[in-house]
Symmetry: C2
Subunit: 279 residues, 2 copies
């Protein structure tokens, strides 16, 4: 796949109106997932988070039936190769609006589907882990928007722009109280003395679907993940650390800046449990 | 004017690509201004703030020449009535991008011009003032983005959605430390014992062009505005209060929730000093 394709409100059109509230105010939410052999991986969980996120900003999420109908129509025009392996991003916005912040009394949410090529990840990423850079950009505390994968992502953009050195795969994001919250493009977990820990996301950060899958899996194992604040010290002294999202799956962290982190088989053992196919 | 018109990158097209970073991440800035007899009111100051805002998020603002050229082309297709009185919103985004937060190494910023009708404000608004509602939605502290009129405006959307009672013209926004910062759609000033005060915008809020004009005007009068934190108590005990933006100009505040605020001729006296034409 060389080009990016999109579908807006069930049509293969080339654009959205500049008065769409997604463009005007970032007034919407999104999720990114893998398309694998014609199936959206973890679609039920992705749809559930879209509904929950929309609800938190008072958007009525389109029905799963409508989204699936539009997705199937979109997929019908995809090449066989792209149907087997690619990335699908779903954006839901509050829809069209007049000038001004007031949400329109009646609005039909806009549905956008974007199909992109699967990134060409080097296989060593899955075997040797990845290095993270500690970003200077900090996350603000905004409990009203915390956890939601909304379209107001300037903090992530500024943080990602800090990564100039190609040795680093992603950045580490902290809040202004020096708590580590997440990676720029995913969530993080550490293991210490047999216990798995991940930061709370009630003040900032995005609660990813892969994070939820991992929380759910450990729960079924009778070993629930401890959700508690993490400091940089906790990360550096961890027995192991992983970053996770719905595109790259689970990756072991090998370095934070220039400091090596113990790497073991945590990510490798976890992937099959999550039914995550790397390639 | 009954419809909203737009111009994208100098063309009268109907849409922007869903991969535009303005849509994907709110990765851009905007300003809204009055079009009066073919002239953009306070354009030099608006352009200066566009350049400064772009710079803070590492976007290279298009030249004033290019924006003016595209504006003139856009205006050529407007009706005479719309050329005399309307609203122009200028949006600058980082441009097109691939999937992922990383800003593209090379990108041409997208320029969007939107023309909308001037709101049909009741004349009493200018003579009797307006009532404000104290929003429950609070502004997060994010010094990296404070003051910038960027496209990440979900806080304003949530705050504006609180205003259900038509008695209220706008909402009052506070931060999580109970400081009053701004109105949802404008900045605010109070007068107390002959001194004019306005809140600092170094942690949150948008620094509007009308606010800047007022700061500049008081400076030329040898009476500089005091920029210092304001509490709800300061507002309720003020001798007078105004809210300001580039669309409605300067409005006296007559009530905060159910509490009356002294109204005098402050707004009426200030308008001609700012060369602001109400209708």
């Amino acid at each position: 796949m060389t080009t990016v394709r999109y579908c807006v409100n069930g049509k293969l059109v080339s654009g959205i109106a500049p008065t769409n509230r997604g463009f005007a105010y970032g007034d919407g939410v999104f999720r990114t997932m893998r398309l694998l052999n014609g199936e959206l991986q973890d679609w039920p969980l992705h749809y559930q988070t879209l509904v929950a996120d929309c609800s938190k900003i008072q958007i009525v999420c389109p029905s799963a039936e409508l989204l699936m109908q539009e997705f199937k129509y979109f997929l019908a025009s995809a090449s066989e190769e792209d149907t087997q392996f690619s990335i699908i991003k779903i954006i839901i916005t509050r829809g069209e609006g007049a000038r001004g912040y007031a949400p329109p009394a009646v609005s039909e949410p806009t549905r956008v589907l974007i199909q992109s090529p699967l990134p060409d990840y080097p296989p060593e990423m899955y075997t040797h882990g990845v290095a993270l850079y500690t970003c200077q950009t900090r996350l603000a505390h905004q409990p009203l928007l915390a956890g939601i994968k909304h379209l107001n992502r300037l903090e992530n953009v500024l943080a990602r722009a800090e990564l100039k050195d190609p040795r680093f795969f992603d950045g580490l994001l902290r809040d202004y109280d020096d708590n580590v919250i997440e990676a720029v493009s995913g969530n993080l977990f550490i293991r210490k003395d047999g216990m798995v820990r991940t930061p709370p996301l009630d003040s900032c950060g995005v609660a990813g679907v892969m994070r939820q899958k991992i929380l759910d899996w450990y729960k079924t194992q009778g070993q629930p993940v401890v959700i508690a604040p993490l400091s940089m010290g906790d990360l550096l002294q961890a027995d192991a650390m992983i970053i996770v999202n719905s595109v790259y799956g689970v990756l072991q962290v090998s370095h934070i800046d220039d400091q090596p982190i113990t790497t073991n088989h945590w990510a490798k053992e976890l992937r099959p449990q999550l039914h995550y196919v790397t390639h």
